[in-house]
Symmetry: C2
Subunit: 212 residues, 2 copies
DNA sequence: TGTAATATTTACCAGACGGTAAAAAATTTC
DNA sequence: GAAATTTTTTACCGTCTGGTAAATATTACA
């Protein structure tokens, strides 16, 4: 086997480690911007500072690269949801979850966009993983339902609640261009995430009905 | 001029009208599923029931097709926002807006995904139109602010309110695969839009704090 | 330091893709 | 029903793209 990654040998050279990281980082840049088919191996090679054949010496194919990115991504992506604590205080657990997801959009926008691209195009590469996702959501939905039954949360559909948190938070990464265009240069600083968090806190706790 | 669309002549043949519609419809299918670069003219030709050269007889290029789709789309897309009535009852205006957007996700998911693809990939084709969008949003944000000042709505950032409505409603079109995977076959029927509407009504009016 | 293993470059290829030219077929017009 | 026009097909072309083979350069290690 000529390819270092496909070899069974566990030990990686310094150069291998360095270059694999450079490639995956560059690939995340490119894939998240243009989608899988819109990206070329040449682009990834260039942004990673190496030639195409050199890149393909580390990864067998374009497909192999995105698979690894997606694997890494999904794990990280579900972490905030896993952290919801059934024994915590319901409203603040929801708020914390929302905040963690918002922070992910702020700190890992490329990952968010990569995921969005995948799902948008029919999730050809994540069909299996969606089953794990369902399992986890079912679990957390049950927790939320128990909170509602205990009168700690308003009566609502837990699944759509989770969807709405995903949607509102990921929006700031996935639709960043639009958000910035609408907010204008003044309000488009990093502070927009704080503004978003404040708004979403308000929304999820009290809604929009004026408080007396 | 060989291309019927580029000709100045206003009158279109029956065949032209029929085929242009077939092509735009097929292109919407393909583009919304694979994105611009992920789609091929051959795919569009096949789904439209004609050969590639025949298709290119009606539209000069792949680019020309998506431009027309996007133009048609943006108009339709902003319509619900335009319909927000400054003289209406604030809370119900917000709710109506949300419902109209949700209906658009239900009835025009391909358009939603096409738009999402565009924005996600940096909006290379809609930069100009985003300026009109900003103008319209500024206008409606001012309306919302006036509602808040009149005590008819809870104090909140109008821009992020609008973002949240976009996000939560478009989510059901753009992330349809994920939504269906999570809800499972039982709850994935058309009724999921009603469930979503009910949840969002609750969220936007009262939030999640348990009512006493 | 010499040698084996690793890393990089050069030169290339087969297929896919967007698009064109020109002839053939179908339709409309008179 | 013949001529003019529109539509469709056939046969291409140049470019881009993912990927490979083999030679060369570099590094690790005894």
């Amino acid at each position: 086997m000529s390819n270092p990654r496909s070899a069974k040998t566990k030990k990686r050279t310094r150069i291998q480690q360095k270059n694999e990281i450079k490639i995956l980082n560059g690939a995340l840049d490119i894939f998240s911007q243009h989608g899988f088919r819109g990206s070329t191996v040449d682009q990834i090679a260039e942004i990673s500072g190496m030639s195409k054949p050199n890149l393909l010496y580390y990864f067998n194919s374009k497909e192999a690269i995105i698979r690894i990115l997606i694997d890494q991504l999904l794990d990280k992506w579900l972490d905030p949801l896993r952290k919801i604590d059934p024994d915590g205080e319901p409203l603040s657990e929801i708020q914390s979850y929302m905040r963690r997801k918002l922070e992910m959009s702020r700190d890992f926008p490329r990952e968010s966009r990569l995921f969005a691209n995948e799902i948008l195009q029919g999730a050809p590469r994540v069909h299996d993983e969606l089953k794990d996702l369902k399992k986890l959501v079912d679990e957390k939905a049950a927790v939320i339902t128990s909170w509602i039954k205990a009168g700690k949360l308003a009566k609502c559909d837990p699944y759509h609640l989770i969807f709405s948190i995903w949607a509102t938070t990921q929006h700031y990464a996935d639709f960043d261009v639009q958000v910035k265009a609408v907010l204008g240069p003044k309000q488009s600083g990093p502070g927009r995430f704080e503004d978003a968090a404040r708004f979403l806190d308000q929304l999820y706790v009290n809604g929009l009905k004026p408080q007396k």
